[in-house]
Each structure stands twice: as C-alpha cells, then as structure tokens.
C-alpha cells in the first residue's frame, strides 16, 4: 500500500472507530490505564490490518514501506490515543527480533507484540553500567542445554508488565567490554526473576529493577551470535531514533498546539513561542528525512544521534513553555488536565537522560560524525 492511500483509509478507520479506540481514563491516568489503552488500540489496529503494514510477512506483517508504520504511530499520537513512550517499545524491539532471532522464534513472537497480546522489555542498563553500557556485568554461563543468568538490571521500562525481555548479558571474561556480550530473549515468567518497580518523579512506576538469580534460558533464545550482543544493542539504538522519534515529534507538535489553545493571554512570550515552534519543526524535518532514508533501505547509524539531541532539546523546550504558559495549573491545579500537564512536564526532564544521555550523544557526534578521535 502507498503512503497516501494508507493515510486516507487509516483516517477513515480512526474516525469510524473513534468510540472503540477512545481511552477509558481522563487526565494523566495511571500507568495501568495507559497500558490497557495501548493494548486495546494495538489489538484493534492489528485485527484491522493497520498494525501489520510495514512489517515483513514472515513475522505476520503485510509488507510495505516502514513509512506506513511511522505514519500509523503519528496518526495514533495526533489523536491522543496512545502514550508515545509506551508505544515505541514495539518499534524498538520488533526490528531487533526480526534481525537477530531464529526465524521460527521471530515468527511466533513478533505478532504477539504487534497485536498487544504481550509486552516486552529491554534489559540493558545496570546499577554500575549506565552510560558505559559495554561494561555490563549481568552474567550468562553456558550449561548443557542453554544459559544460566545471574545479575541485576535497572531502569528497565515496563518490566512489571512484560512477558519477555531482550537482555544483554556478559558471556566473555569480566573485562571483555563490548566483545564479550551476548543478547538473550528471556521469558519473564522463568523462576529466579524478581521485578521491583521504581516510582519515578512524575508519579509513574516507569521502570524497574530486575534481579536474575540463576535463571535458565534455552540456547535457542540466543539473539545473534554468542559474543555479538554489542551489535544487537548498537543496531537497536537507531530504531529508538527512527519511527519512534517521528512519533514523538508528532506528540510535541500536538502538545504545543494544545498549549497555545490553553494558555491564558499574556502568559507566553512571542519570541519563545516562535523559537520552540522552530525547534519542533527542525526536529520533525530532520526526523522526516531519517524516515525516508530508512524506507529507502539505508542503514541508520551514528547520524541518528543528531535526531536524538534535537528531540531531547525540543521536548524540554516545549514543556518549559508549558510551565510558563500554564504555571497556575502546573503548580497548584488538581484537575485532570493539570495533572496530565504536570506529569508530562516532569517526564520531559528525563529526555536528556534516557536512551543515551545528552552527553553520550554529543560524544558520538564528535567521534563518529566529526572524526575528533577518542576522548580519553
């Protein structure tokens, strides 16, 4: 299907099913509310076919350009039907499975993720391993029939809901850095896994600590080659900055428009409004070019760090403007709208921290795009 045809027929479907797709909650909503809403929208969109376009047929998709996926995410977000951060896990983890899982496993599992029957999480960061991901120490030891995993992950989004986890483990010697890492696809129901949610600043149990105590993982759950987990991680990261990022640009565009409608007269300075709109526009222009490169089959790489930096900067700028324009509600409002604005403002503070901090992104730009050599 072509993008234009997809755009118009999807629009008709969304209008026709507005009641069935509408969120059951008002205002900020709990994380449970958002997860239930996400599952509902994905199921309806999958069963109607929309959620299958842009994915390969071997994993239950209907084929077609990745632009269709990007547009679906944009359309759902522009109608405020899904939380873009929760939705984006699909866009990040499904491509990884398609590229690295044994074909049979990908064919079984990916449709469950697309349809919203399952939630997956991504076990990367550890207490001692934030920006320096290659130093991770969660250990997987080979047994006769697979792996035994022991260690700890942290900042694992949605682990408390997840049936599966894409997990990075240390399989080489402790100091083997990026050379001794292996990626595994782990069932979260396996004995030995303990999940402890952490309440984040914006009031949601956004992420978790996950403890692995001698957890058995079958050998056929290895993603990619043993010792090649770093490539899995590096190939995954650009997906965080492709379709998912286009969706987040649509989210910022929507919130900025809602802010203009809601802010009392005189609370917003014209030069700031112009500047923030320009930032969102530049982000969307950059991300749009990235979507078209991805759709043309180009391999995304370190240049997507530019997209990520633009996103993080624009997101905080939008919500700084929210804090200025809706100051009364942000500080003292206990109505549903104020609660949502406040939660999203607070969440935006993490935009320069998660998914590779602002500093790490700038290091990547300096080393990989500007060829400035190593920083040590």
């Amino acid at each position: 299907m072509e993008l234009d045809a997809f755009r118009s027929s999807l629009g008709g479907w969304l209008d026709g099913h507005a009641a069935a797709l509408a969120p059951g909650h008002v205002g900020a909503g709990t994380l449970d509310d958002h997860m239930a809403q996400l599952a509902n929208v994905k199921r309806l969109a999958y069963d109607a076919g929309w959620m299958r376009w842009g994915w390969p047929e071997r994993v239950g998709g209907l084929g077609g350009s990745t632009l269709l996926r990007a547009y679906l995410a944009e359309a759902l977000t522009s109608r405020d039907l899904v939380d873009p951060g929760l939705y984006s896990m699909t866009e990040v983890l499904a491509p990884t499975m398609i590229d690295y899982a044994p074909p049979g496993l990908a064919a079984t599992m990916v449709p469950r993720l697309l349809r919203g029957d399952e939630t997956w999480c991504q076990g990367f960061s550890e207490p001692g391993t934030g920006s320096n991901l290659a130093a991770l120490s969660c250990r997987a030891t080979r047994t006769d029939d697979g792996w035994r995993v022991s260690g700890q992950k942290v900042w694992t989004s949605l682990a408390q809901y997840a049936q599966r986890c894409v997990l990075l483990t240390r399989t080489g010697p402790p100091a083997s850095d990026h050379r001794g890492i292996t990626a595994l696809f782990v069932d979260m129901a396996t004995p030995g896994i303990t999940v402890r949610p952490i309440v984040a600043m914006h009031g949601r149990e956004e992420f978790c600590e996950v403890f692995f105590d001698d957890v058995a993982v079958p050998l056929d759950r290895t993603l990619g080659e043993v010792g090649q987990g770093w490539s899995v991680a590096m190939d995954l990261l650009p997906f965080e900055r492709s379709t998912a990022l286009w969706q987040r640009g649509a989210f910022l565009h929507l919130r900025l428009e809602q802010l203009l409608a809601a802010a009392p007269p005189g609370t917003l300075a014209p030069d700031e409004v112009g500047d923030v709109f320009g930032q969102v526009y530049a982000l969307r222009a950059r991300s749009r070019a990235t979507q078209h490169r991805l759709a043309a089959g180009q391999r995304l790489g370190p240049e997507t760090s530019v997209d990520k930096i633009l996103l993080a900067t624009a997101e905080q700028a939008v919500f700084d403007l929210v804090a200025a324009g809706l100051a009364d509600g942000m500080l003292a409002g206990d109505d549903a709208d104020s609660e949502r604005w406040r939660a999203e403002f607070l969440y935006s503070r993490a935009a320069t921290i998660y998914g590779g901090s602002a500093e790490i992104q700038r290091n990547i730009v300096a080393r990989r795009l500007l060829d400035m050599g190593a920083d040590r």
Binding site: E272, D275, R288, V306, L310
Partner: protein, 278 residues
C-alpha cells in the same frame, strides 16, 4: 535545464563562489541572463518590499549587491497598499552608498531614493512577492549553512592539531561538545531548509531562514571559542565567515525578528500550521 546543463551550471556556480566574493562574484555570476538587470533587496533586518508606490513614482529604501552600480536599470518590488508591482527604475536615479560595515568585502550598497519614476507598472500576481521572498530566504539560508559548515571544519581541524597538556584539544569533552552542538545546529538548519523546499510555503521558508540564522550564530559562538587566539586574528580565515554570516542573517529577515513575528502569528491564531506531512 537538462541534467548536463544543470551540472555545468552547478560547476560554474561552485567555481565562482569558491573563488570570488563581493563585486568580483557578482561579475562572475553576471553571465547568467537573470542578473542582467539589478535587483533591490529589502533593507538589512527587514523583509518588506523595498519600494513604495507614490503616484507615478516609487520611493526606494533597501540594499543591493555590489554589482548593482554596473546595471543601468534595477527591479524594485514596490507595495501599492493592496499588492505589489515590479517597478523598473534607472539606477542612475538611485542614491547608492557603498556599505563598509562589518563585512566590507561583501560590497553591498545601501539604496535610497525619495521618488523615482518607474517604467513598468505591471502589477505582480498576488503571490509573486511572498514567493520571491521565500526563494531568497531559502537561498540565503543555504549560504548560512555553507558558511557555518566551513567554520565547523576550521574549528574541527584546529582542535585535532592543537596540542595542549600533551594531547589534542579535540580530546577534551568541553571542546568536543561545543563542536557537536555546532554540527547538530547545522544539520537541523539543513533539514529545515530541505523540508521548506518540499513544502514551498512562505511560512516554512521564513522559519528555515530563522533556523539557519540561529544555527550560524551557534557556529560562530562555538567555533570562535575553539579557535581561540588564532581565530581572533585576521591571519586565520574564521573572521570572514563570522562577518559574512552576520550580514547574511540580516538579509531578508534576521533570525530574531522572523522568530518573533512567527510567535506573534501563532499566538494570534492559537493554532499550529499543519505542515510537514510524512
């Protein structure tokens, strides 16, 4: 223009812009028939048409490129109150003041005239002036991006070669992050310009010009700092790009004014334009 002609044109343009500036560049580009008549641009900082129709005459206030003096006639787009006309005036009737200013090499001239007779009264189609302005803003936006990339290249090369504390200053994170931010600002400006060509509206052209002006400011700020002492001398080429981008930012609307105007419009309409479809 077919592919081969376009290639030749591009080659010629590249050669001219790489080897000439100011009046010499105007002369080099004058082989193109489109520049046979001079053009008066809006005054620095502004984007309103440079002329105003007054009866049979036109009042002129704007700037021109160095080559304007060599033309016998110039086009002055002039507002009538309702629309615009493209008036042809005799260059000899205009008061031209060569502008030294911050970038004397550019050689622009300030153009003024109380009232001069206009030869051509054909009204321009309603969208002609906004479209011409938009094309000019995009062209200058790309020039800003080019100059900013050049500043970045100079600063990057310096950072890799300059040794302090026993290692290249490119290894210090404070230096790296300045240049990374410069790269991001330039890439953002280029993406905004490319998208504006696709979009084709005056709004996105003005926006992209503003983003390019802001990006060039970021590049000036960081590259000047990284190039430090040598970059502050006239023995190093940086100052040329600093000067040039300051004037380019002022041509057809500077970033600050364009941004504020956009903000005013958005606050008045309380809506965002639906632009940039995937």
């Amino acid at each position: 223009m077919d592919g081969e002609e376009r290639e030749l044109f591009e080659k010629g343009l590249r050669h001219a812009t790489a080897n000439h500036t100011g009046e010499a560049l105007d002369a080099a580009l004058d082989t193109a028939p489109t520049t046979a008549v001079g053009v008066v641009l809006p005054p620095l900082g502004g984007w309103d048409a440079p002329g105003r129709v007054e009866g049979e005459d036109v009042a002129v206030g704007g700037v021109g490129t160095a080559g304007l003096r060599r033309h016998t006639a110039a086009v002055v787009v002039a507002g009538t109150g309702e629309g615009h006309v493209a008036a042809i005036v005799e260059t000899a009737r205009l008061v031209l003041r060569p502008v030294g200013g911050i970038d004397p090499v550019l050689g622009i001239v300030e153009v003024a005239a109380g009232r001069v007779p206009r030869r051509d009264r054909a009204p321009a189609p309603p969208a002609a002036w906004p479209a011409a302005l938009a094309a000019g803003q995009l062209a200058i936006g790309h020039e800003l991006v080019g100059a900013a990339r050049q500043m970045l290249r100079l600063a990057r090369d310096h950072a890799r070669e300059r040794i302090q504390f026993g290692r290249p200053i490119a290894s210090f994170q404070a230096v790296r992050h300045r240049l990374a931010d410069t790269r991001v600002a330039i890439d953002a400006a280029e993406a905004a310009l490319d998208a504006a060509w696709d979009d084709g509206s005056p709004l996105t052209a003005a926006l992209a010009k503003a983003i390019a002006g802001t990006g060039a400011r970021t590049a000036r700020h960081h590259c000047q700092q990284v190039l430090a002492g040598i970059g502050f001398t006239t023995e190093h080429p940086l100052h040329r790009y600093v000067r040039r981008t300051l004037v380019l930012d002022g041509l057809l609307g500077d970033a600050r004014s364009l941004t504020r105007r956009l903000g005013d419009d958005l606050l008045r309409s309380r809506r965002l334009p639906a632009i940039l479809p995937l």
